[in-house]
Amino acid sequence: MKLEFQKICLPLRDFSLQLDSVLEGPSIALCGPSGAGKTSLLELIAGLRQPGGGTLIFNGTVFSREKKVLIPPEHRRFGYCPQENLLFPHLNVRQNILFGVRGPEPAGLGELCQGLEIGPLMARYPATLSGGEKQRVSLARALVRGPQLLLLDEPFASLDDATKANSVRLLKRTVERLSLPFICVTHSEPLALELCVTRVDLNRGRMLS
């Protein structure tokens, strides 16, 4: 996975995100103090925010150049798991997972759900799920479309230690099986070490590797 930022600039509330570097590798931890712009950076990669200037290139394809968005978020094929999970309240687990899927059920669905241990939850509604369950459903939803990159924003922040350990284990197992590159925003040092190969720090909009 190779993500190039060429003079990318994104104005935020107090400062601007300014990036002119390359992120490479199978797993990248994005660390930094809160308010550094980590979530905004993830949103920019996902296509939910448009940079004020600069060029974004993923695996050789130009995703945006200056203010022109060449590839909108729905065509970027990135899996995005936001911090609050954000499951659709009007759909059950199965419908949530299959939300982005057009046509028949994909073949790997059963295996994916088994791997994340959410098989028995299919008919339930998000309001009835625990924190850990919601998080894994959010993951399944992002993965079922076979994305080329996974973006995780503080995936285990609100979980207790036991649930967290279990979830980390399941995540690792799943991304290894799918050979899926991912970028994980986290403020937890041990998690970054355990999960990711590369680590990048962000402070007030600037990257330090």
């Binding site: 949103e43 065509h75 936001p82």
Partner: protein
């Protein structure tokens, strides 16, 4: 007499339903667009949409008459197609639709504003284009509020008087609505009949608005 009454009530309800059905396809998407983001000209559109709400209904009726009358630009166009609009039931629908439109848009807009933007953004990352987001996320989540908006618009269309009077007139058997009939009966000095119609008007409007309010309450409860 009972027959005439029933006919007027049925006519008014039918016209209001048609009017609301006509404004839904334009009003709901417009409400969503206005609820999302800022774009050039947005304030202008908001103002134009709200105009029939603040203008005197007779003024709106006058404008419609100028447009749809036989000598008006739209009127002449329709005449060439063999369609008469002014002083027919079609004018009743147009007047009710125009007067109910701002209420529909403003109320639906509030429902859309209460839909979490982040859910819509997330849907984009899952492969939905902007209209896909509207159909699969915004509309379902705002559905109760939209139904409430529709009922409110229906109640408004039902009670429309000033604009209808101007552009459709009060032609017995053709354009006589509930409110026009009340006015007409008062003119004739038939007060008791007028009061009967008045009571029915209040009854229907009360039910429609009550349902609307209850739906809104349910919608708000769901968010918390």
């Amino acid at each position: 007499m009972q027959e005439e009454l029933a006919r007027v009530i049925l006519f008014t309800i039918t016209m209001s339903v048609i009017a609301v059905v006509c404004i839904l396809p334009l009003g709901i998407p417009l409400a969503w667009i206005l609820a999302r983001g800022n774009w050039r000209g947005k304030a202008l559109v908001e103002t134009l949409v709200s105009l029939p709400l603040v203008l005197p209904p007779v003024a709106v009726g006058l404008i419609l008459l100028k447009l749809l009358g036989r000598r008006g630009p739209l009127g002449r166009f329709f005449e060439s197609l063999g369609i008469e609009v002014a002083f027919t039931w079609k004018a009743v629908v147009v007047a009710s639709a125009v007067m109910a439109f701002p209420l529909l848009v403003r109320t639906a807009r509030t429902s859309f504003e209460n839909v979490d933007l982040r859910l819509e953004s997330l849907a984009r990352t899952l492969g939905k284009g902007p209209w896909g987001v509207f159909w699969s996320v915004s509309l379902p989540l705002a559905s109760r509020g939209i139904l409430a908006a529709t009922l409110l618009a229906f109640a408004r269309a039902l009670g429309e008087f000033g604009a209808t009077m101007m552009v459709a007139g009060n032609i017995q058997g053709e354009t006589s609505t509930l409110s026009l009939s009340i006015y007409h009966l008062i003119q004739l000095g038939e007060d008791s009949q007028a009061w009967t119609l008045c009571g029915i008007s209040i009854g229907i409007a009360f039910l429609a608005v009550l349902a609307s309010e209850l739906l809104n309450q349910k919608a708000r409860a769901r968010e918390t």
